[in-house]
Symmetry: C2
Subunit: 207 residues, 2 copies
DNA sequence: ACCTGAACACCGTTCAAGT
DNA sequence: ACCTGAACACCGTTCAAGT
């Protein structure tokens, strides 16, 4: 009896900390045991195995995502607010998106956001199947954007970089465009611009 | 001398086949060696190590993505065609997207598409930084959508499924909307709808 | 009820030795 | 130039044995 009794919560806490610091790949049962000062096999008693340990971690975070109360004057503004809130929440948990997705909990995690979107789309006057399409289009766009953004951050330096691909000679007709593409993208601005454009189109009645 | 001489190409071919069938995780050096009928260590002589083997595989596929020649009457139609071509190409290589991304080659792989988009956005009258934003917004949307779609397919059954989350009681004001959200999304339709909406907004001059 | 070490079947990789 | 088996350091997991 070298330490106070190990608890399941203690295991989850230590595992979450390892994942947060170095990503899910760094979470090995042996390192976790070392961190906790116990034998590897004790962990199995508390959480079953590595897979259900990760499941529990993911479930925990999904539960943390509470209701979403977007601010804004118009439905379009509030949809944009939902998108920003989602982005902020997910960026605070950088390893989570992929883990949640792999475990098939994405829809569960986005339910609060989806409900907020349904509300706003309804307020904007959309009904039935058309409203459902709008909700899903926004949801896919936001989640997709976050996946791309996350992957870009995680990826090592691109080679060749966009800056090399777009030297002015590549677009002789529009050097300003070439310069703009050679500069790194501003993810914040591009996110807002994209969502705003999509929402605008979805909420505008067809001609 | 139990077999004809092993070549680097032969190794890549066998590795590609393993990845295509069971995903990158199933590609172990030992299984690959068994498949080829050689000692594990022979593979190292030809390709260095597992990581550079995967690099070579990815590089190979990136090279396969040639120029993109979209058809259509208007720039908007041709941008939509670019999006469809990208979707088709990437869906033909289901394990590739993530692998390319992890290796930081996404921008390289999308260069042909990016050039096609630049051309169309220019044809639509956009210039400079505004054109660059439009190109990137479409690119992010398409890639993001494909990542989400891919993840959905790979993910096991969601629990609870959307159908359970959206029983009619959940949206008393609009039962048609609830029914639509309870049905599984049609990824084809949603993709076209989303891209069309975004492109429409990006190409329309600001009010 | 909780914890342990030994053991098993898998990895990727290195290296000295062969032809 | 090419191939080999032995060996190392790592995995996740099981299990019989302890308290």
């Amino acid at each position: 009896m070298s330490r106070t009794a190990l608890t399941r919560d203690e295991v989850l806490e230590a595992a979450a900390s390892l994942v947060k610091q170095h990503g899910p790949a760094a979470l090995t049962m042996r390192k976790l045991a070392a961190e906790l000062g116990t034998a590897v096999t004790s962990i199995y008693w508390h959480v079953g195995n590595r897979e259900s340990l990760l499941d529990a971690l993911v479930q925990r975070t999904v539960d943390e995502m509470g209701a979403i109360r977007p601010a804004g004057r118009t439905p379009a503004d509030r949809i944009l607010a939902v998108a920003r809130i989602l982005r902020r929440e997910l960026r605070a948990r950088p390893h989570l998106i992929a883990m949640v997705h792999e475990r098939g909990l994405t829809e569960r995690m986005f339910l609060p956001a989806q409900q907020a979107l349904v509300h706003e789309v309804h307020a904007a006057g959309l009904r039935g199947a058309r409203a459902a399409d709008a909700v899903r289009a926004v949801q896919f766009q936001v989640v997709g954007y976050l996946l791309v953004e996350r992957n870009r951050e995680r990826a090592p330096a691109q080679s060749p970089a966009e800056s090399e691909l777009w030297d002015p000679a590549a677009a002789p007709h529009d050097p300003a465009l070439a310069r703009a593409l050679a500069r790194p993208a501003d993810p914040d601005r591009l996110f807002l611009l994209s969502v705003r454009a999509l929402v605008h189109a979805l909420l505008t009645p067809d001609p």
